[in-house]
Amino acid sequence: MENYAEMYWTGLSPDEARAALVNKDKSMKDRRMTLKEAVSQFIKDGDNVGVGGFVNIRQPIAITHEMVRHGFKDLTLSWQSAGMAPDYLAGAMMLNPDHFSIKRIELAYWGHEAFGLSPMFRFLAERGMLEIEDWSNYNMSARFKAGSMGLPFIPTRGPLGGDIPSSCRTKIIDCPFTGRPIALLPASNPDVAIIHVQAADQYGNCIIRGTDATCAEIAMASAHTIVTCEQLVSHELITQTPKDVGIPFVAVDAVIEVPFGAYPGACRRHYYFNGDHISAFHAGATEMCKGGVPDTLKTYYDEYIYNTKTFEDFIAKFPVQRLIADQKAESFNCERLA
């Protein structure tokens, strides 16, 4: 086994993560605020930000837009598989690293499945502009899980046998019970979690539909959690079905109702993907990847982010027919009476 002195933590160390929670106000209080208040109050330069959702499902898009408007330096971003959320942050860095910069990413996958590669990732990675730490989906999920459990590490089989252990902080030990190799993954305790959910009450109790992704783990692991929700509902409604609560209020610091908050990605029961907009957003970054000028990307950011004050303004830029079509497409996926 290697010497633990070689270890470094991004975000909070396990002992710091414990202390952060002990000193936090975990009472059942009203946690509603504006997105702007939440982003400026709970995120700071240099933070490790845990990103919720999975690829383009239930990604915290509205929060990333507000982060771009605010501007941050030297962030570490942590997630398992992500698409548009880090794309929006990375695109801002491509345009003006003095306004927004990502120092490091800890991830399993950055791309878009059926919607292709991330040109933002290729641009920054192939130019050496990011520190990268590769893990797998289970690795990152288990690291957040360890963080959420108050453990310094968790064992998995996942990263054994390939090159992932040579490019990350995994330690491989001989299992003291079986003698066979097993990987120990260091916990991830981000400074702040950014999460989008289907519904929440004013205290922060969250209901998640479809994949839970790793949202509960990220929220419980982080020192602070910002939640946007499609629907802000009453505590009485939430507690009629407490088993639907995926993230309890104790782990949440800010609750903001933001309809379409994961758009142009998908959100179960609310809307399906807008792949056309994903492609349109990527066009400018793809140009830059190929050595082109930033004009197209800059036009996108100006129009859709910098010149809008809120995410409501961003959503208002879409044709109503398109928004309704994406809602209808999702209602086909999980048909239910209104």
Binding site: V55, N56, I57, Q80, S81, L107, A108, Y109, W110, G111, E113, A114, F115, G116, F121, R122, A125, E126, R127, G128, L130, I132, D134, S136, N137, Y138, N139, S141, A142, T156, R157, G158, P159, L160, G161, G162, D163, I164, S167, C175, R180, P181, I182, A183, G210, T211, D212, A213, T214, C215, A216, A266, R268, R269, Y272, F273, E330, F332, N333, C334
Partner: protein, 279 residues
């Protein structure tokens, strides 16, 4: 069951992938063509096939159409169990997944896959020549599913003696007990499907072995497009092309919008880049 004379390279891959899957088994499905192949299997010879997706769906009937993401809403409707990534990978690590169905950008003769980077590792890790999306769940499936089915586009540079980065472990160096000794579970790569044929891994040496070449290919043409020495099964034979009905099902029933199976007028092996939509 008339053989189709008008199918694309992706379509024969889908048909081949479907045939490898067995009824009533659990398959952990990676994104891209594995989803299409699994749906074809489920709608033909394997109605009892049980899909698992890494975002947390277990046993969905997939009756609201082809998911375009493994975390897609379509994977959850009618599922028997819905959790998150940890629950999906935990049950796989436990032994619940009979098959894992994954793809990669590069493969070696022992079925190890790369989907992380093209470039010089470790020296050039932070400045890759081409940065691929990364493991996603592929390395976890490779580590813990009982058997894995691999999809890799066939190309001499991509079927390579030495990978630039091993993302998903296969038979490692092919030595006896290599996977067990490394702490991995399961028997490792079972079949590989490329744009040129179907391969297994020879029992003793764990080396990739051609068992079926696709119509239009020969043993020699497949070897010529492979960057290492292929084994060839004694009874290696031409793979039957997909039937007209299979092609119709893929185009009309399963992937009508061409999310993963691109529409093409003719066969066009070379221009297909399988790595884009996959994880």
């Amino acid at each position: 069951m008339t053989a189709s004379t008008d199918y694309t390279a992706q379509e024969i891959i889908v048909a081949a992938g479907a045939k490898v899957l067995e009824d009533n088994k659990i398959v952990f499905i990676g994104t891209g063509l594995p989803m299409v192949a699994s749906l074809l299997a489920k709608q033909t010879h394997a109605p009892g096939l049980i899909p698992v997706f890494e975002a947390g769906a277990v046993g969905p009937p997939l009756n609201v159409g082809l998911p375009i993401s493994v975390g897609d809403s379509k994977t959850f409707t009618g599922a028997s169990f819905v959790g998150g990534l940890n629950t999906a990978f935990e049950l796989t690590q436990r032994g619940f997944a009979d098959f894992g169905f994954i793809s990669g950008a590069e493969v070696d003769k022992y079925g190890n896959l790369n989907s992380t980077m093209i470039g010089d590792f470790p020296a050039g890790y932070q400045t890759p020549r081409v940065r691929l999306p990364g493991s996603g769940g592929a390395s976890d499936m490779a580590a813990s599913c009982e058997r894995t089915i691999l999809l890799v586009p066939h190309d001499k540079r991509k079927f390579t003696e030495k990978l630039q980065y091993v993302t998903s472990p296969g038979h490692l160096d092919g030595s006896p007990g290599a996977r067990f000794n490394a702490g991995l579970q399961g028997k490792g790569p079972y079949r590989l499907i490329s744009t040129k044929g179907i391969f297994d891994f020879e029992e003793e040496s764990k080396r990739m072995r051609l068992i079926h070449y696709f119509p239009g290919e020969t043993i020699e043409s497949v070897q010529a497009a492979t960057g290492f020495e292929l084994l060839v099964a004694p009874d290696a034979s031409e793979f039957a092309p997909p039937t007209e009905e299979e092609v119709r099902m893929i185009r009309e029933d399963i992937d009508p919008s061409g999310a993963f199976v691109k529409r093409a007028k003719k066969k066009a092996n070379k221009s297909i880049n399988l790595t884009v939509p996959q994880m």
